[in-house]
Symmetry: C2
Subunit: 329 residues, 2 copies
């Protein structure tokens, strides 16, 4: 397989430069300082690069999608800032979160203003189908809010099902990725059928990505994953892994351990608890099960690429799915 | 002067119906319930009616601006929900605020989602100048965030000047009103010169409106004003009135009373304190001064209407400035 790392990195650089050029104001400092802070905090820029790749895969110059791609990255950053308030997160990409470094109100307004910056970038896009581009963009914003509401509600809900969890991932993760590929496609004037395929690719890629992320959280090596393993368990997150394990756990003792995660009992913060849960996951084959599901979603994503006309286009988006899932980037 | 109350009320009804028809989803309930709650809480719908009036004043059918007008009202409601969190407000339009009735996270997400709903309405607008309409809309969102950041910063800043205060009012109040008239004008395909005039009208109307609001807060009768008088003083708000009074107060004793508002000393919550400040305002002619400033802004606003071609158009926007300032509506 051809290696597109150079392309990825060069597009990433262009996106970062465009972001910098869009945030030129400095006053009021307590609005623009935190905005610059979050935007300079790195990040893989997966979403804007996917937008550019999609535009290119459908036969157009990637540069036609640069503003739209940047808009999506800025929208993604808005969700990070507001989610971090709600999750009371201390760090983001290794840096202190805005609401901790400044305060809650600053983080609310920085998030709000990131939407304005994002829209500013989107409105600089040249396309004959701006109405349709906006429709996708607006729908993502709407779905991502719904996803976050479900995510917060599930924290308190003891009856979350695997289907609920996947529905939430669709809204929180897939929808914005679908907009990336769809908007890239619309700018490239791809056919409706092609755009639909690109959305199916992104939807399943998003689900595979989220599931992979959950797996890494418990099985990953801390060094590669970049954060402490077992975080989801310590937070009592109702992931596919946990819900599947509860479904499969026959032994009452194992079941009680898992239920204590759902109930957020004090025990879940104990040193050895994450290892205990990991062993249960392995014992009942939950890790294999999850790997199978990741594979299924990935296959669905990749098979949707058959509708892309050019070999080069197919390869480019295939490569993207590989790097996003291997996290080698 | 012709009375346009019936027109106002009928447009207001159309806006309310359109809002209802745009919020049809019910799940997740903890997102759509609070959204429906804030949107059904009444409100004068000044901004959307101004948008429709402006469209009509420039010779187009008001119905062409209905979606855009609704978008602006929804955007305004987003600002209310997030501002109420930051101000820790208990009530809004006589009802418990979202963050009190539900919780902080729900209010953040309801506000965020109101932007999505607002954009959805805006994107249903039919115009050959959508890019320009979006530019105005996006700029309002950006300015209103800046205004709120200044407003919060001024709460802690002891060196706020009258100019600072007016700059903040321009961002928090005028900018969105400017978008109302400009977007109404763009939809009606008014000339650049006409749109510029409509913006000047709205900018000054906004400043007059804000100043009038400050006056009513201290001089208004509680029954008509709908809230307790003296709220600004009790909150230590650095309004034009307070800042002007400090400028004019010669007597050391009077000055100390005013400075205690700036410093938010405990004394400002005492029963008779508001009366004390009111007397100082009257003694140094601050109330007259503020009335003069309201009159000046109003005159600037009204004289900008000379650029509107039709007598009917001029009258309509003139009537609007009268009712918005008399608060008789």
């Amino acid at each position: 397989m051809k290696d597109y790392s150079d392309k990825y990195n060069s597009y990433k650089t262009e996106i970062n430069n465009l972001i910098k050029s869009l945030v030129i104001k400095t006053e009021p400092r307590n609005l623009y300082d935190p905005i610059r802070y979050i935007l300079s905090g790195g990040g893989k820029r997966l979403r804007p690069v996917l937008t550019l790749f999609s535009c290119e895969a459908f036969g157009s110059d990637y540069r036609n999608a640069l503003y739209a791609a940047t808009a999506i990255e800025l929208l993604h950053n808005f969700t990070l800032v507001h989610d971090d308030i709600m999750d009371n997160a201390d760090t983001r990409r290794g840096k202190i979160t805005i609401h901790k470094k400044w305060d809650r109100d600053t983080a609310i307004l920085a998030g709000d203003h990131l939407i304005a910056l994002s829209l500013k970038a989107l409105n600089m896009t040249s396309s004959n189908n701006m109405k349709r581009i906006y429709d996708y963009y607006i729908n993502s914003l709407s779905e991502v809010c719904e996803g976050q509401i479900y995510d917060k509600a599930f924290e308190k809900d003891r009856n979350v099902s695997i289907n609920d969890y996947i529905m939430m991932c669709r809204k929180k993760t897939s929808k914005l990725l679908e907009s990336c590929t769809a908007i890239g496609g619309i700018i490239a004037e791809a056919s409706d059928n092609e755009i639909k395929s690109a959305e199916i690719y992104a939807e399943n890629l998003g689900l595979a990505f989220q599931m992979q992320d959950d797996l890494l959280d418990i099985m990953g090596e801390e060094e590669n994953f970049g954060k402490k393993t077992g975080g989801d368990i310590r937070e009592g997150k109702k992931t596919f892994l946990l819900l599947k394990a509860i479904e499969l756990a026959g032994d009452d003792k194992d079941r009680n351990v898992l239920i204590s995660v759902i109930n957020k009992d004090d025990v879940i913060s104990e040193d050895n608890f994450v290892n205990l849960v990991r062993e249960i996951y392995l014992k009942y084959g939950v890790i294999n099960e999850a790997n199978k599901v990741v594979k299924e979603y990935t296959e669905k994503a990749v098979s949707a690429l058959n509708n892309i006309k050019t070999k080069e286009g197919k390869e480019l988006l295939y490569w993207f799915s590989e790097i996003i899932l291997n996290r080698s980037h």
